[in-house]
Symmetry: C2
Subunit: 552 residues, 2 copies
């Protein structure tokens, strides 16, 4: 019997080799094994091609053909279910292949067309609504889909929202199905702080610089890549890392930490990778990423990140060892929750629910407003670069034309004025340039900041979902107890584990607020300082021009 699958969502083919499928359409698969997240098969029209593996469920003996839970693991909730195998599958290809696969330069190969922003104009057209360099949250991919998406535009976030609770391991943990041996070094503490649960501070805080990247070659110059020099303050030893290493690390972290908002790494870009603009932009993105990594009490200390930061770039063997260890880490997903120790007093779930709901509303508002700020400053930057510059330069030009007309008068007493007006013209042309250069100094960093936070904001629906899933389980179990379907001890265990998830979630939210206040404060200060310097520079230029008239 042919292997069959049912489409869970509509998928519209966008590239050669893909086929479109409709929700509920029955498909024939050639293999149960996906190819980098894609299945090959035939749709009901008989068209043959690729479709995203995550868009379909494989039908085994036609189990659950009409189930609402169509995307639960094919094995159902039986004991053989292993959350880890489900969780990791999306990242299998890029991150768990042999080390030889790392030479497959998917990061470096050119298939994607030029993105806006690399060749000159970075901002929206003055009037139009062209594409933004920073993809905003509505178009962003779910963190869970970040690696699998070949045609990422069709994979929008939260399509699989329900399954997040399952996939993250949250459900398995709440139901008491997670088990593992927690070493002392893996212990993660949530403590009760002034404002509620918070992650225990990192006793050995550090930061890490990312120096200007250099272009490296291998295979006698056949292959080129960009190498970033990282220097963590706690080792003071420089290591070289490539984008694909960041990418691999990111995948490990997402897999390991279900309720931690792992900062997004800057987007991939296929063409123009060696252009200065792009390299500088990616570096800025990586600096932000690194800053959020080292600021996070849990992420900063985790083994895989430390391996990434400290393993010598030249010790191939040590690198592979650490890499394998990370990929075989047991304490991921459901088991991550096993490592968390909470404050003695359990939380009031009603209060937790209210806090989580408040935060949900907050993230929605913050998402909307950062989107608005992003659009506004993007336009503002664009106008400074085009319109403002043009206006000041037109004024400068007209002063120069006036001075040229005045030079027709050869009177000696006219010469000083003519020179002064001509200089004023130069000054206004320079001011035009200042306006055009300024966004790079003040608005771009704001957009970089917003991009980082827009990344976090796309993480939170999933995080909130995990906590809400746990709380639902608590309510269900209470009902089951009342109905006599569950014994009280089992329900109590669910409650305790929900408390762990809630503590972790609230600690993460608290951390988010802390870094948000820190980052936005710093960035607004930076912005205003730059603006002040900008207007002072203009004033200085104008004062220079004014002086020219003293002897005119």
């Amino acid at each position: 019997m042919a292997l069959r699958a049912r489409a869970l969502y509509d998928f519209n083919s966008e590239n050669p080799g893909e086929v479109s499928v409709k929700e509920n359409e029955i498909l024939t698969l050639y293999s149960e094994q996906d190819i980098e997240g894609w299945f090959e098969g035939t749709n009901s029209k008989g068209e043959r091609g690729l479709f995203p593996a995550s868009y379909v469920e494989i039908l085994r003996n036609d189990t659950y053909p009409d189930s609402r839970y169509a995307n639960v693991p094919s094995g159902g909730f039986d004991g053989s279910y292993n959350p880890q195998s489900k969780q990791s599958h999306a990242y299998q290809q890029p991150s768990q292949g042999s080390d030889d696969d790392w030479d497959d330069e998917w990061d470096d190969s050119s298939t994607v067309a030029d993105e806006p922003g690399t060749a000159g104009g970075r901002y929206h057209d003055f009037e139009g609504n062209g594409p933004s360099t920073y993809r905003v949250s509505t178009a962003s991919m779910s963190r869970g889909n970040a690696q699998q998406a070949k045609s990422s535009a069709t994979v929008s976030r939260n399509l699989n929202r329900f399954s997040t609770f399952v996939k993250s391991g949250g459900e398995a943990f709440v139901l008491g199905e997670a088990s593992g041996f927690v070493k002392d070094g893996d212990k993660i503490c949530v403590v009760m702080g002034q404002y509620g649960p918070e992650w225990q501070e990192n006793p050995y805080p550090f930061t890490c610089t990312i120096d200007d990247p250099t272009k490296q070659t291998k295979f006698k110059g056949m292959k080129s890549y960009i190498s970033y020099k990282l220097t963590p303050t706690h080792t003071q030893t420089q290591v070289n890392r490539r984008y694909k290493h960041f990418d691999w690390l990111y995948a490990r972290l997402v897999e390991k930490f279900p309720v931690i908002s792992v900062p997004h790494i800057p987007e991939k870009q296929a063409t123009g990778r060696f252009e200065e603009d792009f390299i500088s932009k990616r570096r800025k993105g990586l600096i932000w990423w690194m800053n959020h990594m080292t600021s996070h009490p849990v992420l900063a200390r985790c083994d895989v990140f430390q391996h990434f930061l400290t393993c010598s770039s030249t010790d191939e063997k040590a690198w592979k060892q650490g890499k394998r260890k990370a990929e075989k880490d047991d304490m991921v997903g459901a088991n991550f929750f096993l490592t968390i120790s909470t404050p003695a007093a359990p939380l009031d779930f009603q209060e937790v629910e209210s806090k989580i709901d408040g935060f949900k509303t907050f993230t929605k508002r913050m998402d909307d407003s950062t989107l608005q700020v992003n659009t506004t400053v993007n336009e503002f930057a664009r106008k400074q670069i085009s319109g403002f510059k043009k206006e000041y330069q037109k004024v400068g030009m007209s002063f120069k034309i006036l001075s040229q007309a005045f030079e027709m008068d050869q009177q000696a007493y006219s010469a000083g004025l003519n020179q002064a007006i001509s200089f004023t013209g130069d000054v206004y042309e320079a001011i035009g340039e200042y306006f055009a250069e300024q966004p790079n100094k003040d608005l771009d960093p704001i957009m970089d900041l917003l991009a980082v936070y827009q990344g976090h904001l796309t993480n939170y629906p999933d995080i909130i979902h995990v906590q809400k899933g746990a709380l639902t389980k608590v309510k269900e179990s209470q009902k089951h107890v009342e109905e006599g379907k569950m014994d009280r001890a089992q329900a109590e265990g669910i409650k305790e584990r929900c408390n762990i998830i809630s503590c972790a979630t609230l600690a993460e939210i608290q951390h988010f607020h802390h870094i948000r206040v820190r980052d936005f404060k710093a960035q607004m200060q930076h912005y205003l300082q730059q603006q002040i310097a900008f207007f002072q520079k203009i004033t200085g230029k104008l004062e220079e021009a004014l002086q020219k008239y003293d002897n005119a």
Copy 2:
């Protein structure tokens, strides 16, 4: 035999009651007497209506039907020709009526549609090419036609250029036909200065302030008018003058001084006359006008201007006496030149011609460039008021929206930042306002300056024409002498009188350059000072915002 006339130029009727005429067309007149500068008659197509008197020559016994000098006075060069009657006719109606006519409030009556600039928007539309508040020179009327033009748009400057030489009295003077008794007080000296001929400086220089005008009423409130309070520094006595008094004075000055560039008074405006914007704008225009009047060595000292400045506003009798005296002044037009005394050494006419040609080129270039500056600063002002303001306010608004979103987080440590961001939003909204308010402080004065000079630039073609006409007469007379048609003494007289006109013209040009350098220097300094203050104000606001983050 019907009274006939020949059209000197094309005239296209624009209003009911007018008829079009073609150059050289023979017309039938109903009366030799023009009606406010218009003849009534029939064209060759039999169409009946009005056409400008200055566009035709009356044919007496068909004298000169084909003459190149078709517009010389109808009496030819016989002794009966009185240049004054020709000169004065254009101003007869508005300015030489009885004193009772002054109550005919043509200045105050509403027939003209709203001009742009009174009701809100003063500047060009952001994108469009709407009308400018300042009419620029190409659309300006010739000073000689300022009063006669009923449909002024069709009477463009220099249509009658050839006749300017005649009408101004220049020709009559050069030909030795002017005569009059020059009193000592009427003497006007051209002296040889460092840069060539110049007007002898006013030994008693003064200035005159124009205070905020007040609205006055008469006839028990039936009539309202705006009264300007003038206080000359040499009398320190305030007099009240209305716009029509300025207008009357202007007509006297234009009539009297053929080669002096009388500054234009601000344009008339029928509606919105009592609106603050208009009153303030007219006052600024009158201040400029007054400044140019008191700066001019000849204009500042002339009797009619002194009468205007010093005659008590309450002494009706004295006013009328001075008014009649001015209107009966013999020393106008051709006779004005009689009052001029020149340096002992006559000018080299070749050098004069080259200087005049150079100045002609200069005025053309200056006209073009001031037009360009005017267009540019008008657009710049427009954009600051609309686009720039909008951009800064949008940024301000987006910061405020962000702070409102952040206020959803009730954490204590967030409050300071929220307030600071909200304040920053306010600051950017204020900066938007600053941009909108600024043109009034720095660009408007530049436009006012340009308007004054554009007025002067429309005067110069006529002034140059008079000098060139005189020079042509010299060349003709030399030819006549060579051909034995004129005796040497007569030619010598023409040469001497041409020297007087040339001295006066060059003195006027020199004066123009002096005030130009003075005014443009002062105005550019003022502009830059205002711009510096503007950017400092913005910087101050931003610093205020930055401080809010100190304790955030």
